[in-house]
Amino acid sequence: MFKQGLWACCVLTTVMASQQALAETVRIAEHRQARIDALQAVIPKMEAATGVDIELVEYPGPDREYVSKLLTELAAGTGPDIFSLPEISQVVDFSTAGYLQDVTAEVQGSEAYGHFYDIAKQLGTSDDGKMYVMPTMLSVQQLYFRRDVLEKAGISTEQPKTWDELMQRAIDAKAKTGQYSLMLPMGVTWGGGPFVEGFRHLLSGSSTPQIATDDGKLDLTSPGITEVFGFYEQMVKNKLLPVDPLLGPEPWVIPKYQMFPAGELLITSCGSWCLIFDWGPKSKNPIPDVTKVVGTWAVPGKNGGEHVMVSLSHPWAVGASAANPDAAKKVLQAMGSVDLMVSYAANEGNLPSRKDALDNAEFQKLTALVPIMSYLDKAAFLKTAPGFSTVVDGVARATEALLLGNTDAAGAQKILVDYAKSTLGEDQVK
């Protein structure tokens, strides 16, 4: 059989150039059980709305393996028709590689567009003014703290004004309670976490809040970055965070799913999903009365100011090699529905990018999320540029060195700069 197969290959490769479309089936890649459940729930409605058969294909769970598999397929000129990108910084890297279809007309022409928060429109639009993604969900991130434990220990639960105030509060909390008091993700095994859930929040309150320069280069030598790494250094030096778990293969499991619910970790950065997925109704280890016990602060600036970071969570894109682009784009438009957004919000805890989701009865049941929607009007975000994924990776490496006590703030910055230069070449890094 195999000989015939090979023979057939030789002869027919030349004849068969393109994959013929099956009758209007669109394949959507999704990964991680919570997200799969969310999508599965709304597929029948989307099929009814578009008249297209939708097939859900399960991809590997961890973001890193998911992206590896996706890239392998895309590089070979195939892949799922519709897929999501775990990090917003990947949109620019994927689109410049030619893996994504321009969906500007479809997204702007969709029923959803008029209802989007402005920030969703801004984040979904690339520098060239085109849209490559349908921004369905937004993540709002800030600091989450154990109100009950801090109050008992007599630590203020007011919004901290500066980095120093936050740091001092964490040091006091540690002294009074003996528990770990402040953790921002660090280390390579957390993937994009160190950057997304820590670094960029601090950076936006530093003296140089952006990395991407106006000419599309990356400025990694700025004083702001030194300041941010200095904050991390202090956090490690004062032993405010548990080191062991952060070096393991699933670094978030112990601190977020076990220590925080047990009151052994008092302040950490997180997104709204923590109130659903990590400690709320979808958690295996829920905190009772989570909205009362857990409070939130905006991340303070170095010398004042408040920063709540918003970014796109897993925006949806149509692959360049989609077998049936028209059907795929039609489905993409349908993915802007309130139903889909509410389903993901309920399963995963991110926020709908549509204002009118607030009118949805199902969404109103998610009492933990509703108040956070108010941040979407005033939140900050970080500009991206080509090569941003490398910065994300470099920050993970630099924070790991800090975590291990191998280097100081300046050394960490050097690790980041060296890594970015060796990966991207000298000309992309300022």
């Binding site: 890239l71 410049t96 030619g98 280390g187 070096l247 790991e400």
Partner: protein, 294 residues
């Protein structure tokens, strides 16, 4: 045999090997050749270089020379191969083979136990060792060393390279033992008898008879285990992902990280090509030493 018969046999032999050649050409030689070509470009998996890769000549190789991470990765691989495959597995494998050379009641059981780690899939092996080496006072290894009064350690953080060497030795003793057993079985008993008659003691017998006669087996083992240990990826990747801070970033992991984390396909391929050449040289040295005639 007639000349026509010989010719017919020769043609048939070629035909018999042809399917294997075709498969190897399609799934190994062609992709490998393509990787060599890729190593001369700046091809990337994402970003602008993915759409329009440029031919950059030997630039990737020049970059290798000054890339500290590459040299560190090479050093890590060297120590890993030296201590796990060349020293650890060989000594423990040879020891087991000699100890099990005599019959006793539990021999089949012990034999099976030593072979078991060899049969375990990589993913499962990594899972089992993740539990063994878990940090904190409940980790299995921490419980064991506690009997000797040692404090709980963060094994994979404090001694990462040592730990992956220990894990790899664990996995390879069985294979070494199989080879050594077969080598031992080909040494005739008469030699030992004669030596004992002459009054030689155990260590003399080992040094003068067993070891010299085992040399071909040992070299064959070294050839196979060295080259396959250089290419190890899954076991270590699942345990440490090359960390912390690159201290267990074997060359296979380095290539993976270059290609799938940094998306630098061209550069990753250049590393692969260099590794291939290294392995080729090592392989040839062994073959020389072994003087095998194939």
């Amino acid at each position: 045999m007639s000349a026509s018969f010989t010719r017919r046999e020769a043609w048939r032999n070629r035909f018999l090997i042809l399917p294997s050649v075709l498969l190897l050409a399609a799934f190994v030689a062609y992709p490998a050749g393509f990787a060599v070509y890729t190593s001369l470009t700046n091809e990337a998996l994402s970003g602008p270089a993915a759409m329009n890769p440029r031919f950059v000549g030997l630039a990737n190789y020049a970059k290798l020379l000054t890339d500290q991470n590459f040299w560190r990765s090479l050093a890590v691989t060297f120590w890993f191969v030296l201590f796990s495959a060349i020293i650890g597995q060989l000594i423990l494998g040879l020891m087991s083979a000699m100890l099990l050379n005599r019959r006793f009641a539990l021999r089949p059981l012990v034999n099976a136990i030593i072979l078991m780690p060899n049969a375990v899939p990589e993913v499962v092996a990594a899972l089992m060792w993740a539990s063994m080496l878990a940090a904190g006072e409940y980790g299995t290894l921490n419980n064991i060393v506690a009997w000797f009064g040692v404090d709980p350690q963060r094994w994979l953080t404090s001694f990462p390279l040592t730990m992956i060497i220990i894990v790899n030795i664990w996995r390879g003793i069985g294979f070494a033992m199989i080879l050594m057993t077969s080598g031992l079985s080909s040494i005739s008993d008469e030699l030992y008898e004669a030596a004992r008659m002459d009054g030689a003691n155990t260590s003399q017998i080992f040094r003068r008879i067993t070891l010299p006669l085992l040399v071909p087996t040992i070299f064959l083992y070294l050839l196979v285990s060295t080259v396959s240990t250089i290419a190890i990826f899954g076991l270590v990747f699942a345990l440490t992902r090359g960390g912390p801070a690159g201290s267990t970033e074997l060359i296979g992991i380095y290539i993976y990280n270059q290609s799938f984390n940094s998306y630098q396909l061209g550069y990753g391929s250049a590393v692969a090509v260099v590794v291939l050449v290294f392995s080729l040289v090592i392989g040839m040295l062994y073959v020389r030493a072994l003087k095998v005639d194939v």
